[in-house]
């Protein structure tokens, strides 16, 4: 969160404190030079004077900033609707082009906000007209300049705006931004690249997304979901086969998040991976892949021989596939330790239909206390229609 900005923050802190101390020292020296008072009083007076100036200046600045902001909001609400109306009239063909550059100069923020709003909600020819207005106003050039800015806030914002434009000419700009050390910039660059909707760029975006932290993946997953079928052909199997474990887990998590029955080669093989995290993610992903014999065999194997965590996720996947063949293994899981695995087994049985539920209902009174508690909780959750979270991802 903070690591990239540490030197800059430390430098700024030291500069301000040094400036503050130097100012006090200068005032103190001046007072001593004119022999105004004793050294102790001089230092006290210097401190009080500098501090009072500091506080007064900052209070005044924040008070003025508040007043300016209020005034800007008042003006904005009046002018904003006029800017939006003129833009809307143009894009719907009700009026001819106006002098966009002048309008942009008069109301830069409002014009930009209106253009972005329209770019986000329109398609096809209408969208192109909005883009042409933005281009004519000089707004797009401004975004392109911003996308190469050294200031990360400005760069990230510019990329966010360009992602609404979806112009293939900017592809190189986006690819360069993918190499930025700033997570926000990389995230915006990913969105821009996905927005271009070109096969080679989408594969690049997927392989870059799996290297990103969970936050970026969570934000980008829906954008990538639209292209899941295309990605399942080459990009996903490539990552699953050759990437390091962390990236494999990320790729599997994206598959789970999409929740689409896409056949991807190599998921079942990963359920026997030596790395526990990869194994668990692959077993979770099995819940969303199309069912076949290999998937069923893998789930039965995990339920009978896996670690407690393997069994817990395999139970949920077995229920998702309505795998009634797994009832004996699931019953064994209910009797097993630890509690989350037992609870997941019981939950799966409840979801597998009346026969499995009856078995659980009949058995629970004879079970060990912990297994009985898991069975009771699952039956209760099923009856009341509540989803019990038997240990989330």
């Amino acid at each position: 969160m903070y690591s990239q900005s540490k030197p800059a923050v430390f430098t700024a802190t030291v500069t301000v404190i040094a400036g503050f101390v130097a100012t006090i020292a200068a005032v103190d020296a001046a007072l001593l030079r004119v022999d105004a008072c004793s050294p102790e009083i001089c230092i006290g007076v210097s401190f009080a004077a500098v501090q009072t100036t500091f506080i007064a200046a900052l209070t005044l600045a924040s008070g003025m900033a508040k007043a300016v902001q209020r005034r800007r909001d008042q003006r904005g609400s009046a002018a904003g609707s006029s800017v939006r109306e003129r833009l809307a009239a143009f894009v719907t063909g009700e009026s001819e082009p106006v002098e966009w550059r002048n309008l942009y100069r008069a109301h830069p923020r409002l014009f930009e906000a209106a253009v972005l709003e329209l770019l986000r909600v329109t398609q096809g020819g209408v969208r192109e007209r909005v883009a042409s207005a933005a281009e004519a106003a000089g707004l797009v050039d401004c975004w392109r300049q911003g996308a190469s800015s050294r200031w990360s806030g400005r760069r990230s914002r510019a990329l966010e705006c360009l992602s609404c434009l979806r112009d293939a000419d900017d592809a190189d700009l986006f690819r360069t931004a993918l190499r930025s050390p700033d997570r926000r910039i990389r995230m915006q660059a990913l969105r821009c690249i996905v927005g271009l909707e070109r096969a080679e760029d989408l594969e690049l975006a997927f392989s870059a997304a799996v290297k990103e932290p969970l936050l970026t993946r969570a934000l980008i997953s829906r954008d990538l979901q639209k292209h899941s079928l295309l990605l399942s052909g080459h990009a996903i199997p490539q990552v699953l086969r050759h990437a390091p474990p962390g990236e494999v887990v990320s790729a599997l998590e994206l598959l789970i998040a999409w929740n689409r029955p896409i056949g991807v080669d190599g998921v079942t093989d990963l359920c026997r991976h030596a790395d526990q995290e990869v194994r668990v993610a692959a077993l979770r992903a099995l819940a969303v892949v199309p069912p076949d014999k290999a998937v069923h065999d893998t789930l039965l194997h995990a339920l009978s021989t896996g670690t407690p965590e393997d069994r817990r996720v395999a139970a949920a996947a077995a229920a998702a596939h309505n795998l009634t063949d797994a009832i004996p293994e699931l019953l064994d899981n209910v009797r097993s330790q630890p509690f989350p695995a037992a609870l997941a087994g019981a939950m799966a049985l409840c979801r597998l239909g009346p026969e499995a539920r009856d078995l659980l209902e009949r058995d629970w009174a004879r079970l060990e206390p912990q297994a009985a508690a898991a069975a009771l909780e699952a039956l209760d959750a099923f009856r009341t229609g509540r989803s019990v979270r038997a240990g989330q991802p």
């Binding site: 969160m1 903070y2 900005s5 540490k6 800059a8 923050v9 430390f10 700024a12 802190t13 301000v16 404190i17 004793s38 050294p39 102790e40 009083i41 230092i43 006290g44 401190f47 009080a48 501090q51 506080i55 900052l58 209070t59 924040s62 008070g63 900033a65 508040k66 007043a67 990360s152 806030g153 966010e160 926000r184 932290p213 969970l214 936050l215 993946r217 969570a218 934000l219 997953s221 789970i256 998040a257 509690f339 989350p340 912990q370 508690a373 009771l376 909780e377 699952a378 039956l379 209760d380 959750a381 009341t384 229609g385 509540r386 019990v388 979270r389 038997a390 240990g391 989330q392 991802p393």
Partner: protein
């Protein structure tokens, strides 16, 4: 010893105290400046579009919100409603009724249509006996654990063993959470998989208007005592904690709102029931246990307002609260004394813990001594007026600088108070609190230090007024 000799020793002692008080305030000022620049660079806020994407994402981990309640009949309805309405894709609210003597449980059962459910504690941490677990007949994620009274830490442990999500948020049931609070505090967990715990800014709800469990109209408190505390909260959260978090040496995540990785908390043994400062103790213990782990760990402070709490408006209750907080600090530091000045613990051992020991724990006693000696010295002519003036500068004027800087830091960053009048009121309070209120707190904290060293236990009751509804 001759009178001039005694006077010289006295003045030397006084100078030592002045140097000490100056050091506390100077370090704090440095932390505030560091916090300011860290906040400016942080850019933590998610856009509205990103918020929506996270709200729809199945990748966001589930959170169990743990809210211990003891005699909270006055505010429990609003608080639980607020917690249920939090904007988060996957959360459950677990209210732990810690053997309340009032109608807390009855209100919850009637208001939220609770029934005795089959949910079972998973074990792993010993707690006082759980009498029953209730869930709602309505499709809401509410669980109520009814247990034998055992204190706040014991209640949180009971919540931990009933929780079903990988992250747990420990909150006060008398607090109101911001609708997006969970999304704010979960962000470090999503950005950095080494994150163990996060906390956010706690704000003072007194003076604000509350509707259906949400703070609607944000105003500064009308009561002077609460106004001073509003300034104090800003100073504590925006100044110190941002900077400590920046240095990965945050020692305190407020008990009013903190988010933790459940497995990490269970692994270190849960919340300590032997201390009244269970919030600080847990964070220090997490540093202790996780310090030697490969790959490192992070404990973050999120500079976003996440929670609103009602502060005491009576001196008696405030006295009790501050005494307890000080005892909590003493207990936490004494339990983990082997970490202090231990280079193995890095910045935590070499800076944060010594800072807390020297300035947060012992500070009030030394400052109090300074006031007494200055007054006595002036009365008996043992110190020069110039030295007394210098003490006034380092304690009171520096205090004003710190308080006003914190208020302005709030204004430049989160800026939650909408009107200029509120800003002026806060600046005014930041100046006036240094003439009387701060000295009163110093006396109470010094008392708390002595009570803590003597091993005094006990929580003390908080009298609630209830939220001001619109």
């Amino acid at each position: 010893v001759s009178v001039p000799g005694f006077r010289a020793v006295f003045e030397l002692f006084e100078t030592g105290i002045i140097f000490y008080v100056f050091s506390i305030n100077a370090i704090y000022f440095c932390l505030i400046v560091l916090g300011f620049f860290a906040l400016r660079r942080h850019n933590a806020r998610l856009s509205a579009e990103e918020f929506d994407a996270l709200l729809r994402s199945p990748l966001v981990p589930g959170i169990s919100v743990l809210a211990p309640a003891y005699n909270e009949a006055l505010t429990i309805r609003e608080s639980v409603r607020g917690m249920l309405k939090l904007r988060y894709p996957n959360h459950e609210v677990i209210v732990i009724n810690d053997g309340s003597k009032d109608d807390t449980l009855k209100i919850l059962i009637e208001e939220f249509k609770l029934y005795r459910s089959g949910r079972a504690p998973t074990g792993g941490i010993a707690t006082k006996p759980i009498r029953a677990i209730y869930e709602s007949r309505d499709p809401i994620g509410l669980v109520v654990v009814d247990k034998v009274n055992g204190g706040k830490a014991d209640s949180l442990n009971a919540g931990l063993v009933v929780a079903r999500c990988p992250l747990v948020a420990a909150v006060d049931s008398d607090s109101l959470l911001e609708p997006e609070s969970l999304l704010h505090v979960v962000k470090p967990f999503l950005e950095d998989d080494r994150t163990l715990a996060t906390g956010g800014i706690i704000r003072v709800v007194n003076g604000c208007t509350v509707k259906h469990g949400r703070v609607e109209n944000i105003r500064t408190p009308r009561s002077v005592l609460a106004l001073f505390q509003a300034v104090e909260y800003l100073r504590a959260f925006l100044g110190g904690r941002v900077a400590f978090s920046y240095l990965n040496s945050l020692l305190l995540i407020s008990g009013a709102f903190g988010l933790f990785r459940k497995d990490a908390v269970i692994e270190v043994g849960g919340f300590a029931t032997s201390t009244v400062g269970e919030d600080m103790e847990l964070v220090v213990r997490l540093h202790d246990v996780w310090n030697s782990r490969k790959g490192g760990y992070r404990i973050y402070f999120v500079p976003e307002p996440v929670c609103w709490t009602e502060v005491p408006e009576s001196l008696k209750v405030l006295h009790r609260q501050r005494n307890r907080w000080q005892r909590g600090t003493v207990e936490s530091l004494s339990l983990h004394r082997r970490m202090i000045l231990n280079p193995r613990f890095g910045v935590v051992g070499m800076f944060a813990l010594p800072y807390f020991l020297l300035f947060e724990m012992l500070g009030p006693l030394v400052e109090l001594l300074g006031y007494v000696l200055t007054i006595l010295g002036l009365i008996f002519g043992m110190i020069r007026p110039e030295i007394a003036a210098l003490f006034f500068v380092v304690s009171v004027l520096f205090g004003i600088l710190l308080s006003v800087s914190s208020v302005l830091l709030e204004e430049f960053t989160t800026s939650r108070y909408p009107s200029t009048l509120d800003l002026l009121l806060l600046v005014g309070a930041a100046i006036i609190e240094n003439f009387g209120f701060r000295q009163l707190l110093t006396i109470w904290r010094a008392q708390g230090l002595i009570d803590g060293l003597r091993g005094k236990k006990g929580w003390g009751a908080m009298q609630r007024k209830g939220f001001q509804s619109s």
